[in-house]
Symmetry: C2
Subunit: 523 residues, 2 copies
């Protein structure tokens, strides 16, 4: 690409795409501006031109593309399957970039059910891994997020969550293969030794631990990870805690947090409100046709009709039957005598007491806690309109009942002012909780999108005022969230930029990812 | 320091030490060559001159010293308490460095027993933290390593282990304050926001996770960490599995590994041999006065006299009494019917069933599993001589019985050839085990030290041939172990060096740590 060509108005990505044909073949180059290019299916700021992309089939091809990107100074926006819905999907930070789509690299290299790990490439979905395990009758359980069509590796790298005891997916990563921004190939951890089996077995290596450096990162293209899996449990128990009164939320949070801390509840318990149940039984128009948020009186009617609580805690128990039974007893003891709290449970066992059958699990209302991938929640997307979209607003909050209550009040006020229904699906951990709310909107409805953007901005501000921040970010808000990490004149960003410049001096990998821009694109 | 001065034979560290007085005061500058300078108490290569050092009292003083080190190009070897015994203690990599002794920074900033975390400085020992928790009757348990006088932070940064369910200490780190090599101050994770409480509560932040980068690292001086603690359990159970026959080791390993994987056994179970028991009941001369390794026949006599197994598995169970009882039942079921295997257990409960009293725990034979720091194992140091020392040889091995057996045979052969007794204290995890052996020697006995060095080298070679490597390193062996991480022409070291050069261009922080040298000292 010469300066003249650029001045002449040619797409500066043209040379990269033309030469990429030599590496991946014509059929794996998606040309600029075509309708089936890459874009966010639920754009908060519609009207962008779909992105061109390249689809490598191997680590060597990724290396070739990265070297070519250096030569042509082309920004590559990496994703595994592009199903990061509510966060921008496959959409890059700006129009000058090319999508690096890793979905063709979908080999399951190994699943070991003796020690409990898998080695996988970026294109492997939760469905793929599930089918692989099922077909071979391997004695492991997966941890899956709300939707099963996304990349297992991509979810872990973006520090997403599943709903099993091993649901903090980034923590299950054990060893990576990484194409560095100069095209060099790195293996982290014990895998950095030639001829070892320890890569997916032991998380440490020798010297600084690097795996974390490649999560939410633009320092390399991860082409393979080891991922730890849990053993198939003897029984699975589906548990519910329903709470009748809204104002009992703090007590619910505190009890569940303590049970998580003691490892009595083993997975990231969910806590949903009535709106969440409505989205699962939508569309909205079935329940309410008025303007603005559904009023409290109507929500109370719906609640009674659905036979649910104001708050609906959901958890899973896993493992030996006797231990699961004792866990449930403890949980019941903790809620016993509290007016308006009710604990319900159903246990699933295998036919011969050996292990749970997937056929049984598939019937339950929440298969994800049982490690079975699904697309069921996709139905909620069209909550407010047939052509619906959403954005997740999910700040991290200390898991203290009174703090959660205070922020819940604030979120309720903001959603109500903006006229959106407040969907709540908290995720509870031993020390923090993820204050998941979702803004549902109609795609391309510019008035509603403007309101959604305004509400999202106010939620971010309300969180930051309290020292809270989201744990990941929609592509449109990365700079803004990064701005909030302001200790010592943004020391963290200055340090991240220093690493970026050292490792990727041309600034070609995922420029702007999580607010970290390469020198050439920094203001 | 001018070139002339250096040529004149002056210690190049003199200028740094003289100017450091302005920062830390004369009383906190340890001058070169004095007898009470810093050195390994058990040197494998004796005869080195004790190191000079500086002892900052605050983060600001560390920043000042780091800036001064840049100006004078002085290598600073950082440690927290210097009790890294068997790995070199406080000893730097070479004679040109100055010890950066953080022991005066010993504030316990916070311990929160509602959510379960502490915020501490480098100088805080396990005893300090234990006393703090005890005095305030906080409802948390610590995880402590073999000896309690070391630094909690230092142990976690070197990726050391404790013996509780939260014994993988590096994984409990939640947020760091780090003085960077240019004197700038960084906070990682959520703590990178001004005015947040989330620093020690949530392990992620925004963008790449950096905490791992500062473990086994020379990229910064960590002056504070958040560390997760476990809730005080209702009961503690001390468990033993004794195995009569040596050849039943693979079965023991496989069963314990499976129990770890299922989270039935919650802590890193130990597995010791007869020599380990002899060291606990030493000195050696009490049991055997001959040359070379204690012969098998004599070991068998000792075993019967001590009433122990060839293999002695030890584990702890923690939490609710009913769950602990069920855990023990499962463990007993797994070993039931196996000839020569015996499971024994003793449960400790609090007087009112509320929590375990430390007074009871202090009487037990292994307080560390119960989170109580001790110095008892220090007695084993003088196993072979009154002036004794040791080195740990601890490669990581996949936790498969047959692999462990094969490497055990090899270690036995090597120890026997070298005439040392083979001490074994395996640590068992769900997927890997640490093949801990120890070489005991007499300090300053050059003949014995030469043999120890030779044996240690052979153990390293035997491990590397099989794709195994130690998880940490004695200061004298860092380069050699790093050499084994050879995938793609040592891609990992080349990447670590790139980071080092970017972050520490003058190469002043811990040069050579884990084999990573700054540009100015690289070959």
């Amino acid at each position: 690409m010469t300066q003249t060509e650029e001045q002449a108005g040619m797409d500066p990505r043209q040379e990269f795409l033309d030469r990429a044909v030599q590496i991946v073949g014509e059929e794996n180059v998606v040309r600029p501006g075509v309708e089936d290019g890459y874009k966010d299916p639920y754009p908060l700021n519609p009207g962008r031109v779909p992105w061109p992309g390249v689809r490598p089939g191997s680590t060597e091809e990724v290396q070739g593309l990265v070297k070519l990107a250096n030569e042509t100074r082309t920004g590559l926006w990496t994703f595994s399957r592009g199903k990061n819905l509510g966060y921008g999907g496959p959409e890059p930070r700006d129009q000058k970039m090319v999508a690096l789509d890793l979905s063709r690299m979908n080999r399951i290299i190994e699943v070991d059910d003796r020690l409990g790990y898998a080695v996988i490439e970026p294109g492997v979905t939760f469905f793929d891994l599930f089918d692989y395990v099922q077909e071979r009758e391997l004695k492991v359980w997966l941890s899956v997020p709300a939707l099963g069509w996304g990349s297992v590796l991509g979810n872990a790298l973006d520090r997403g969550y599943g709903m099993s005891p091993m649901g903090d997916h980034a923590k299950q990563i054990c060893g990576m293969e990484v194409v560095l921004p100069d095209g060099d190939l790195l293996r982290t951890g014990m895998g950095a030794m030639d001829g070892t089996d320890l890569g997916p077995i032991f998380q440490g290596g020798f010297g600084p631990t690097l795996d974390g450096l490649f999560t939410q990162s633009n320092l390399g293209v991860v082409t393979q990870i080891g991922l730890w899996l849990m053993p198939w449990p003897e029984v699975y128990l589906n548990g519910d805690v329903t709470v009748e009164r809204e104002e009992d939320l703090p007590q619910l949070i505190d009890i569940l947090t303590q049970l998580r801390g003691e490892d009595v509840i083993q997975n990231n318990a969910l806590c949903g409100n009535v709106v969440r149940a409505v989205t699962m039984n939508g569309p909205r128009s079935r329940w309410y046709q008025g303007e603005g948020s559904i009023p409290p009186e109507r929500l109370e009617e719906i609640r009674q009709e659905l036979g649910i609580g104001q708050w609906n805690g959901k958890f899973g128990l896993y493992g030996d039957k006797g231990m699961v039974e004792r866990r449930l007893e403890i949980i019941k003891e903790r809620f016993a005598g509290l007016d308006g709290f009710e604990v319900k449970a159903r246990m699933y066992e295998g036919a011969e007491g050996a292990r749970v059958a997937y056929e049984d699990i598939a019937e339950m209302d929440r298969t994800q806690m049982a490690g079975v991938p699904t697309l069921k929640p996709l139905g909620t997307i069209n909550y407010v309109a047939e052509n619906g979209g959403h954005i997740d607003a999910a700040p991290i909050i200390p898991a203290r009942g009174e703090e959660v209550w205070e922020f819940y009040q604030e979120a309720k006020r903001l959603y109500s002012e903006a006229g959106f229904d407040l969907y709540i699906g908290y995720h509870l951990y031993p020390r923090h909780m993820v204050h998941v709310t979702m803004i549902y909107f109609e795609n391309d409805n510019e008035e509603m999108l403007a309101q959604a953007r305004e509400l999202y901005g106010k939620l971010l501000d309300a969180a930051r005022e309290r020292g809270y921040a989201p744990y990941r970010s929609h592509v449109d808000y990365m700079d803004r969230i990064a701005d909030g990490f302001d200790f010592n004149n943004h020391a963290i960003r200055r340090f991240q930029e220093k690493l970026k410049d050292a490792v990727d001096p041309q600034g070609i990998l995922a420029p702007g990812k999580q607010g970290v821009w390469p020198a050439r694109l920094r203001d």
